[in-house]
């Protein structure tokens, strides 16, 4: 297995790990967004969706462990690459012309990623904890998942920080999507221009999709009371 160690510690190997883990996170986000959107179908639909997940709890727990590992590798290699790359370019130029030769998304991955990480901690310590361990998911035999979500999103601070994090997620995904194709070596004159455009479209859909939920529930909480 020495070769795998050598590979994952080589410059291209580290990119490969970033790309594979990033791609898996993208798949997770797609499923997560699809699930979240059931909120728009009302209390019954969302509580029903969460209850279905509850039936598969052991499998969900295994997936959560795998997801944690994916995130650890992605974050660890991300920070490692950032640190090593910074060291390779220890002296900066007096005049920085990087905005003329590369995109904002591509240059700020470590920071957009960092903000997403802060959000992730916040997200897990609120929703994930509340759904799994708070013991408040049922009141008088009625499931409270929907109410937990809507209650959180009534808080303007929480809703706004959620929305801001999703904007950064959009920037992160904008670079990420086309980047994993390049890292795997899939660069083709015919498809790459489309992949780049689709990546931007995908990033917008994901960011707007996730952010629409706090926006919707925050606004409806204003109108409802």
């Amino acid at each position: 297995m020495g070769w795998l160690w050598t590979f994952t510690n080589s410059s291209i190997g580290k990119k490969f790990v970033m790309a594979v883990t990033g791609l898996l996170v993208i798949l997770f986000l797609l499923i997560h967004l699809a699930g979240n959107l059931t909120l728009y179908w009302g209390e019954g639909a969302f509580n029903g969706y969460v209850s279905v997940l509850d039936i598969f709890k052991p499998i969900i727990r295994i997936i959560e462990v795998i997801l944690t590992l994916i995130f650890i590798f992605h974050i660890y290699d991300g920070i490692r690459l950032w640190y090593e790359n910074k060291k390779a370019k220890s002296i900066r130029y007096k005049i920085n012309a990087s905005s003329e030769n590369s995109t904002f998304s591509s240059r700020w991955m470590i920071w957009t990623g960092g903000i997403i990480f802060i959000f992730l901690v916040m997200h897990l310590s609120t929703f994930w904890y509340a759904f799994n361990f708070s013991g408040k998911t049922e009141v008088d035999g009625i499931e409270q998942y929907y109410n937990i979500v809507t209650t959180w999103f009534q808080s303007p601070v929480y809703a706004v920080s959620y929305i801001i994090a999703m904007i950064f997620l959009g920037f992160h995904l904008n670079h990420a999507f086309q980047s994993f194709f390049q890292t795997f070596g899939w660069n083709h004159k015919k498809y790459t221009p489309f992949i780049k455009k689709f990546g931007t479209f995908f990033a917008i859909v994901m960011a707007v999709g996730f952010a629409s939920i706090p926006i919707y529930f925050f606004i409806s909480s204003l109108g409802g009371k």
């Binding site: 297995m1 080589s10 410059s11 190997g13 060291k87 390779a88 990087s98 003329e100 390049q182 070596g185």
Partner: protein, 256 residues
């Protein structure tokens, strides 16, 4: 076209040796718009020598954009702001009267400054020595066109071979990654039938030397492609990635 001289303020990096601390020195010059940036430096050096001062050290060789010796970073752009142009082909008519221009050496840890604007690019030579060759039988010259290669393949290989090894990709990259250079050098061989015998060994060895030299990793910002004086495409990086990943997964060497 106006032939009036341009008045420019130059900030040029001066550094005595690799160990000393450098700084910018300001020069006010009046220069012909027809002069290249290197010719402007020549003129400044003539003046400095007359005054008994040490001239600005910079490298140049062919001065026609094909040797890759003359890379300077002009206003944050390796080889200056003009696309697909080497420093020696960058003429002062591309600047405006009264402009302020910063001229710096290419920055990267594996490219230490030797003096002023001259950097040590021998890390590139080490990468080349590690695998940028093919093996063939010596003896009488083989007949031409025995191995047929399509025009498209030959073109793609020659496009990669256009790389002049100037280091602009490393200089432009925020990570000081040499992957455009190595990608081009790997691609020019891996595209051709003659390069197949060493294809997967070559990519592994060149990447290993690249990593050892302390170049950063590519984060797909594509600044290299935008700044490359020869317009080398990042498709070559993708090809290198593909070959490297494949090499690591299919080779029978368990330990490396």
């Amino acid at each position: 076209m106006s032939n009036e001289n341009l008045s420019l303020t130059l900030h040029i990096w001066r550094q005595e040796s690799s160990k000393s601390v450098g700084s910018f020195e300001e020069f006010k010059v009046s220069v012909s718009p027809d002069a290249s940036i290197l010719e402007m430096l020549d003129e400044i050096n003539n003046g400095l020598e007359k005054e008994g001062k040490i001239p600005i050290a910079f490298e140049s060789d062919c001065r026609e954009g094909i040797c890759g010796t003359c890379g300077l970073v002009v206003n944050g752009h390796p080889h200056g702001p003009l696309p697909k142009t080497a420093t020696c082909q960058l003429h002062m008519r591309n600047f405006k009267n009264g402009d302020t221009i910063y001229i710096e050496p290419m920055r990267a840890k594996p490219f230490p400054v030797i003096k002023d604007l001259i950097i040590d690019r021998s890390a590139f030579d080490k990468i080349q020595q590690a695998g940028a060759f093919i093996s063939f039988n010596t003896g009488s010259a083989p007949d031409a066109n025995v191995i047929l290669i399509s025009k498209e393949t030959a073109d793609a290989s020659l496009d990669a071979a256009e790389c002049i090894g100037c280091g602009a990709c490393v200089a432009a990259c925020k990570n000081a990654s040499a992957m455009l250079f190595v990608g081009a050098k790997v691609s020019q061989f891996s595209l051709l039938p003659q390069g197949q015998p060493e294809r997967y060994k070559r990519v592994q060895e060149m990447v290993a030397v690249m990593d050892e030299a302390g170049f950063g990793s590519c984060t797909n910002t594509y600044a290299c492609e935008a700044e490359c004086p020869k317009g080398i495409s990042v498709t070559n990086i993708a090809r290198m990635n593909r070959d490297f990943i494949k090499a690591k997964f299919i080779s029978k060497e368990v330990e490396v």
